[in-house]
Subunit: 267 residues, 4 copies
């Protein structure tokens, strides 16, 4: 890209307001910690802003999304408060080419479940498990510079079965002290957009200050930028024989409508 | 399965009512032709019923779906008239283990787009293209007994880019006289359910009387039966360390709620 | 299949001869234990024989392989003693439609590495790790009836990075007491054959007497049977325009040879 | 990469010597045309050299390969003359991280079939088919800037079934005038190396002067560069519990050998 990658870090920002120990752990919010990690790794190559649930339209207006190359999403306590309209808008922008990085408990967000089509449920435990993050796709851009394994001393446990579609690529698999495993770094292409789900990170632990976790998120930001020149919606079009490049708009499913529409087009 | 596969063939049944030439081509409706093809191929191994848009709840009540092992779906002119409630119900049953076979213009149905998360658009042309259906996964159950290529003398053209997630498996790829190509037989696993999308078939052509097309749909019916013993929703549960099999219900995301809930559980 | 599945269980059978404690653990050899497990689960649905390294042609003559629907492979100490000719013969039969189940240290066999094209290396440790085998593809035939997780009290550890091609399907992921993870049940289709690699099992532990391990291998035997009616090699053929079904044999790459060959065909 | 991508374009260079019309079509050899296309697209970003079959060690010494980031391969009439030693050397370098682009009839080369593990056969016809190359993965780096479809006025036909492993990614699917289809742009990761197979191109047609074809090959060169810092072989190592980063070399499969080896290590 000729210009810096425009990143919007979205945070629900509720635990930080309701739970003093979370506020102490993340004085700038979890979104603040995520944003700082990206800036620390990518410097001039990004321009980062944040947005939160309580802003009008959750800070994700049409204008903001149109100027966002990659959106990161962290939510947990208030998935249900995200408006359907905004969730649908985010989904549409992903399909048109906006990158999306879904973090940890964002697995259950409206945005992610709409894009996956499944329940996105899992097993979990909030104790003091050590998480080991193993790379199973060592040439993947998102895995570059990440130790094998990457050790996170304490984190929430997420375990299989993770009810998501079979990923396009599995980059990381985690284990936990208790013996559970999880496909913890997975990619999907949807429409013209690229999606990365990354498991680590919880309000109860300082995960978003972990160097390796920050590096993974930063790698993912660079990976998730779509290469297409402009943001467009995949559109259903009719193409005449031997006319490969000039599609016609859809004119309705019933034959009579087709004929009327076509005769109008001719006029 | 010890009992016959219980198949529900869903048809929109609008073209048949509105367009006399479609009614003539498909005197029992397109759903009738699909149902007969399945019965002709699978005989005693299936018990087939049909349901259509104009029935109460589109013929897809909770009871009907609970007793359906595999649902086939054809819609075109009236996708928008399918109620959100029924579309969500069908999606839920698929995630719980009901098989789903989406036929032709069903690509744009609420049911399929909800499960895919994408626009499911494509390019198309209703002329008299010959379609050749080539098998690219020759050991797949759905491909057994199908000629390579399978020739359909006249059919509507669907061409790439087909905006769907990368399939778990590509069984068939079609070409058309005009030179377009299409991933025309593709599988997805979603939740505990199995999905097959199959391209051929249109109200303008007698495609659902084609022996090979009927055989593919019948193979897919047998393939789509989930192997799990009972229909269950994937559910998010908490598991204590070393307790691998007894998950606890989710008690809310905020710590205070957790603690209250847990102390209640203890009592 | 109308006839019972014809299974050949291949065992290297060296540890059993050289190490008394292995002979005591597996009095009928490891191949004997594997064969008994398959028979115990599938009964009349299989006909099982065994073959070992020290037999002429390692017990895998052309005749034996032609009459084998599914071959299971365990080797460890003597991969290098398997003749290239037999390894190539097994590879060819897999490509023609014989199922192959590769067990544990068979990952480094000539047969498996030839079919994968990679080094098939991994990390390992022979201590007393507990292995937990988690299902990540719950509707897969091979996972039916297997506990989630399946617990193996003591086993050798294999860890990532496992240098194999990205699997077509990942059915199981294992963790070990030490925290390592491994893609422990994975499928591949190669030519007209189906391959399942399954990690558990070692000469140092009684793994092949474990009920769940035996059930997985038995499920895999049923899954690995190719559906194609006869065993054939994929062959490169020339097809004239509009002649979709009658390919001609390859006549050499150079034009003059083609022309000569064609003129001979005409005569 | 900080330095230009070091590309070696390998050509069999036999048709050019034996068939005057091929020599006229490709005065600098097909390898010359491929090399010029890469240079024309990537300029200072690459340093391209060529190598051919008749050079000592086919021009692919250990030294040449060690200094090659991406190798392109075209062969046809003389696959059998490539020495097993060189084929194995190329395979090893791919597994260690060298990119590989296999062109057209290279599908049947020793290098490609060793890496795939299958026969890599297909159906073909050398007539004057028009090839349409359709993009089915529009955000893939290799598809950037390529028309949809890309039209090649005349080319050899290759058709399914193409006996290769299910690709990691399908970027392009081709159709031909005769109605055949082919997965014509496909990717594989093997070891630490990335592989792209691209179908178009034949000695009988000026395909390697086609702007789009040259652009695809150039995109693939940039894509195929492995991101890993140095070229290393995946190696089987033993790791003690809690020692995640210091593996020990393999000391032989039999227990007695292990113990001896370990006691030696201790000394």
């Amino acid at each position: 890209m000729s210009h810096p990658i425009r990143v919007t870090v979205w945070g629900e920002n509720r635990h930080e307001q309701l739970e003093p120990e979370v506020a102490e752990r993340y004085p700038d919010g979890m979104h603040g910690a995520v944003a700082q990690g990206i800036e620390a790794n990518l410097g001039q190559r990004v321009r980062v802003r944040t947005a939160t649930l309580d802003e009008p339209e959750h800070g994700l207006t049409e204008e903001v999304l149109r100027e966002t190359d990659v959106l990161t999403w962290w939510g947990h306590a208030a998935h249900g408060e995200v408006s359907d309209e905004v969730a649908e808008r985010v989904q549409r922008h992903v399909l048109e080419g906006m990158g999306l990085i879904v973090l940890h408990s964002g697995h259950w967000s409206k945005v992610f479940t709409r894009l996956m089509g499944t329940t996105c449920t899992l097993r979990w435990r909030a104790e003091h498990d050590r998480e080991l993050v193993w790379t199973v796709d060592p040439t993947h851009p998102i895995a570059q510079g990440i130790p094998h394994p990457m050790i996170i001393d304490e984190d929430e446990m997420y375990g299989e079965f993770f009810d998501v579609p079979a990923p396009d690529e599995i980059v990381f698999i985690s284990s936990f002290s208790g013996g559970e495993v999880f496909r913890s770094g997975i990619t999907y292409r949807r429409g013209f957009g690229k999606i990365f789900y990354f498991r680590p990170g919880d309000q109860e632990y300082p995960t978003y200050f972990h160097d390796g976790v920050r590096r993974v998120i930063s790698n993912a930001v660079e990976w998730a930028v779509t290469l297409r020149p402009e943001r467009t919606t995949p559109t259903l079009l009719r193409y005449e024989t031997e006319d490969f490049y000039q599609g016609h708009g859809y004119e309705g499913p019933l034959k009579s409508e087709d004929e009327e529409a076509q005769s109008e087009e001719v006029r």
